[in-house]
Amino acid sequence: MTVQRLVEKLGHLLVVLFGTSVLTFAMTLATPGDPVTVMLGDQRASPEQIASLRHDMGLDLPVISRFGAFLWHAVHGDFGRSFFHRRPVLDVILERLPATIELTVAATLIALAIGIPLGLFAGIRRNGVVDRLASLGSLVGVSVPGFWLALLLMLAFSVSLHLLPVSGRTGYGGEPPAVTHLLLVDSLIAGRPDAFVEALRHLALPALTLALPMAAVLMRVTRGAVIEVMKADYVTFAEAKGLSRPRILGLHVLKNALAPAINVAAIEIGVLLGGNMIVETIFGWPGLGRLVVEAIFSRNYPLVQAAVLLYAVTFVILNFIADALQGALNPRLRA
């Protein structure tokens, strides 16, 4: 990527990030009525208490200064206080973040491990048995609603077969000492195989629920890219000059077919971030997604706002990185 191109892309990134925060802020304006009255709900509050909460939330200021304050504070990591938890919103979010990161990373790895090899294989042996089965499977995979898949897996592996736990992140055996707050990593550091297995058993179903639809999309994209690349002139040329098939596949096909898969993977991680909210709610996974859903129902607006912004910023940056990676893999796209 040339310097000029990079500066241009960074400029675009900043515009989008700024716009994202404007839009996230604007969402709060969509709350029906006065957020403070809604938040206080049935609790009896004196007019002074209401006024003080309004002041704390900055609702007594004009919209423009409220947005200025929101942006200024957000850049400094201050998203206000969670009325419900009586603690700063950022603390509550950071506490739940590791569980969500662990789940998202696990799901992404499973999806990549299933989707890409299957897509490569199906594309190379087009119309073979594997291709037909995988194509059918991926079609079902992109059509199945995630929340229903979660219940089916739960019904099969937990309710009927009693193989895996229904919910939660760990058993009663006690968590390993927190170092990274990722249970799998922490139990390895602590040298506790029992805790590792327990964490893995809890992680399996939610991660699989998120991974299967993502694997389906990755498989389709990789397969399509392989078929496209195999038709390209340079592959025909490589065949004509007598390169062995494994060499052709390794040299040309793999590299060129992976570029679109990377881009789609970044978009699909965005889908995972949304899917997290549903899957974490179903499996009682103590992560950010479940926190947001709980926050919606307890009308904890500052928390919802902060989480939405965090998700969006993560997604925008992921796409930026994927874009750069794709440019590095495929020089033609740099133009």
């Binding site: 675009h12 515009v15 989008v16 990030l17 716009g19 994202t20 404007v22 839009l23 996230t24 969402m27 709060t28 969509a30 709350t31 029906p32 079609l139 079902v140 992109v142 059509s143 199945v144 609603p145 995630g146 929340f147 229903w148 219940l151 089916l152 739960m154 019904l155 309710v159 965005g270 889908v271 971030l273 949304g274 899917g275 909210m277 549903i278 709610t281 179903i282 947001v292 859903v293 926050a295 919606i296 129902f297 607006y301 919802v304 706002q305 989480a307 939405v308 998700y311 969006a312 997604f315 925008v316």
Partner: protein, 294 residues
Amino acid sequence: MSAVTADAGLASPSRLAWRSFRRDSTALISCVIIVIACAIAILAPFIMPHDPADADLLRRLQPPGWMEGGEWAYPLGCDQLGRDILSRLIAGARISLGVGFAVVAASTAIGLGLGVLAGTARGALDAVISRFADILLGFPYLVFAIGLMGMMGPGLDNIVLTLVLKEWVVPFRIARGETLGVSRLDYVEAARAVGASRLAIMRGEILPNILSPVLVVATIRVAHVIIMEASLSFLGLGVQPPAASWGSMVADGREFLADGWWVSTAPGLAILIVVLAINLAGQGLREAFDPRLA
């Protein structure tokens, strides 16, 4: 082969596309399934065997007709309040399909209009609309929908509003891209040269030539929107009880997986069948109408 070549001289591209679509049996079967589902949704009040809101605790979690303890008057069994699942499924079809088609129709109209406008006007107007679209794309779909629904509160109107706000970007980007491509072609130049107004060019020259890729993608998007509505309803942000949507029906059965697996299974299967049919039909349309995309 020779027959196809002979046809090509007589038939328009869209007629040729329909011809190839009709040979695609998977896509045709999918279309039949979609038509049946729509008919069920439209005729719902006349074909529901029972009142979908009629609760009877004596029939609580009654199994489907073919199982022991079930009766054929309630073929798919009853839910945790003893309501007939088949009737609720039929009533829910109205909401799930209705939201799907309404959101995509509104989004396509908005996206198409803005896309053609941005593509022909270019300059500042294009930059503003396109940046706004980029910003909306910065939100993961479900995060945006759940966030905005969380602020606005649950309800069917809010779901439609939220999804249209996010969905119009998809047809917009396609329409804008196609418009930019078509604008460079000779016949648009010719129309411009003979002094046709901008509106006349947009309506007469550009719109008819960009319509098919936009409509093909719109069909597939119906599937996506149906899943989004179901996801929001599953979380309790959609239609409020006792009204049924397929998503909220799956949620109803969540607590009763062990004693009544059929409560969640039937509505989930309904979503899967309809979404699968739409995806297959959309794929067929795409291959027939826009071989570049296939």
